[in-house]
C-alpha cells in the first residue's frame, strides 16, 4: 500500500517505521526541517520538509496515487485540513485523522474523514477496562459508534440471574453474542441459563445502553 503520513511527531515516526517494516511504501511530510532531517536520517530519505496541508506538497508526496493519508499531527485542525485537501484535490480513497479533542470525532466523521483515532479516548477506554466498576464495558464500536459491543458482568445483584436467554427482555436492536463463563466462551442458545460471574458480550446500539445497564446490572 502507498501511505502518506502527515506529521513527524512520536505518532508519525513510529507509524512510519511500522509501515515500512511491514513492507508498505511511505512518504512523510513534516513541517519542522530539523525533525524532518532527523527522521530522514533514521528511516531513509522519504521525508518532505513542508506543510502537509498544502496541496503543492501533497502532490510532491505523490498523493495522487496514495491509497491512504494518515494525518497524525498534534493539532486537530491541521489533521482535518490535510485530510480534506487530500480528498478534495487528490481523491485519496481513505483518510485517517488523529484526534486530540474527543469532541471533534463526530464532526470529522460528518466531514467525510473515513477513520479517526483518538488517543485520549483509547486511554480512557483502557482505564475503564482496568478499573472494576460494575458498569457496562465498551469493548469496541462499529459503524462510527452506532453499533456498540459491550460487556456486562453479572454480579450477585444482577436482576437476570437464573433466567434463560429466551426469558431476558432484551431491548430492540440488541443481541447477546457470547457468554464467557469460567474463562471459556459459551455458545448462546435460547435455553442457556445466566449465572453469577458470567460476562456477557452484547451487540447493541448506543442509545440502548441505559436499558441494558438496568437489565443486566440493575439500577
Amino acid at each position: 500500500m502507498y501511505v502518506v503520513v502527515i506529521g513527524g511527531g512520536n505518532v508519525g515516526y513510529y507509524l512510519t517505521r511500522e509501515l515500512l517494516q511491514a513492507g508498505h511504501e511511505v512518504v512523510m511530510i513534516e513541517r519542522d526541517p530539523n525533525r524532518a532531517r532527523q527522521i530522514s536520517d533514521e528511516l531513509g530519505s522519504m521525508v518532505i520538509p513542508a506543510d502537509g496541508c498544502e496541496g503543492k506538497y501533497q502532490e510532491e508526496a505523490g498523493m495522487r496515487r496514495a491509497d491512504v493519508i494518515a494525518a497524525v499531527t498534534g493539532d486537530d485542525e491541521d489533521n482535518l485540513v490535510a485530510c480534506q485537501v487530500a480528498k478534495m484535490h487528490f481523491n485519496v480513497p481513505r483518510a485517517i485523522a488523529r484526534i486530540n479533542n474527543p469532541k471533534n470525532e463526530e464532526l470529522f466523521r460528518k466531514l467525510a474523514i473515513d477513520d479517526t483515532v483518538s488517543a485520549t479516548k483509547m486511554i480512557l477506554g483502557v482505564i475503564e477496562h482496568e478499573i472494576p466498576v460494575h458498569e457496562l464495558l465498551h469493548l469496541t464500536e462499529l459503524e462510527g459508534g452506532d453499533v456498540q459491543i459491550v460487556e456486562a458482568y453479572l454480579d450477585e445483584n444482577s436482576p437476570v440471574l437464573g433466567q434463560t436467554v429466551r426469558e431476558v427482555q432484551l431491548p430492540a436492536d440488541t443481541s447477546v453474542a457470547v457468554i464467557i463463563r469460567s474463562g471459556r466462551a459459551i455458545v448462546v442458545k435460547p435455553d442457556t441459563r445466566l449465572t453469577e460471574g458470567d460476562r456477557i458480550l452484547v451487540v447493541t446500539s448506543a442509545e440502548r445502553e441505559d436499558d441494558l445497564r438496568t437489565l443486566f446490572i440493575g439500577s
Binding site: 485542525e77 485540513v81 480534506q84
Partner: protein, 174 residues
C-alpha cells in the same frame, strides 16, 4: 442579527465592535482573555474565553441560535475547523472563514464556506495602485494626509548619526 466572531485579534475586535455599534447581537470568542482589551470600552456584546474550535465554547457563545459565524483567528486551519463546526454541528445558516492561503481559500469555497483572503485583497489593491494610483484602489490604499517631513533628521536619531558620520568622513577626505 446574532453574530459570533471567533478570534479577537485586530480584525476580529474591529468587526465585533463595529457590528455591536450597529446594533447587532455580538459575541466574540478568544482563547486569550487579554485579547479582549482590543475591544472598545463601549462594547455591548459578550466576550467568551475559550477555543473557537471547541463545541462547548461555541455553544456558550450562542452558536446554536446564531445567524452568522465569522472565524477570524490567525490560523487558517483553525478557522476552517471552527467554521465547519459552526456549519455542520450547529447548523449556522451563514459562515465566513478567514483563510490567508489563496489556494486553500479557493478549495474551501467548494465545500460551502464563504471565505475571505487577506493575501488576495492586499495583492489586488497593491497591483491596482501600480497602474491607477491610489484612486484606483477604492479606498484600500490611502493617500498620505500630510507632506513628508523634510530637512534635518531629529537629533539623536539613527538617521542623524549616519548623516553626521557621512559629513565627518567627507570632511576628513576633503
Amino acid at each position: 442579527m446574532k453574530v459570533v466572531v471567533i478570534g479577537c485579534g485586530r480584525v476580529g475586535a474591529t468587526v465585533a465592535a463595529e457590528l455591536a455599534a450597529r446594533g447587532e447581537t455580538v459575541s466574540v470568542v478568544d482563547i486569550r482573555r487579554s485579547a479582549f482589551r482590543r475591544l472598545p470600552a463601549t462594547f455591548s456584546g459578550l466576550a467568551i474565553t475559550g477555543s473557537g474550535t471547541d463545541a462547548d465554547v461555541l455553544q456558550s457563545a450562542g452558536a446554536e441560535t446564531a445567524d452568522l459565524v465569522m472565524a477570524l483567528t490567525e490560523g487558517d486551519n483553525r478557522n476552517v475547523l471552527a467554521a465547519q463546526l459552526a456549519k455542520h454541528t450547529f447548523g449556522v445558516p451563514r459562515v465566513i472563514a478567514k483563510i490567508n492561503d489563496p489556494l486553500r481559500a479557493d478549495a474551501y469555497r467548494t465545500l460551502g464556506l464563504e471565505t475571505i483572503c487577506r493575501t488576495v485583497i492586499l495583492a489586488d489593491a497593491l497591483v491596482a495602485s501600480v497602474a491607477g494610483g491610489v484612486e484606483a484602489t477604492n479606498g484600500m490604499v490611502l493617500a498620505p494626509t500630510a507632506e513628508p517631513m523634510l530637512g534635518a533628521p531629529p537629533a539623536g536619531s539613527l538617521a542623524d548619526d549616519q548623516a553626521r558620520a557621512a559629513a565627518d568622513q567627507m570632511a576628513d577626505e576633503g
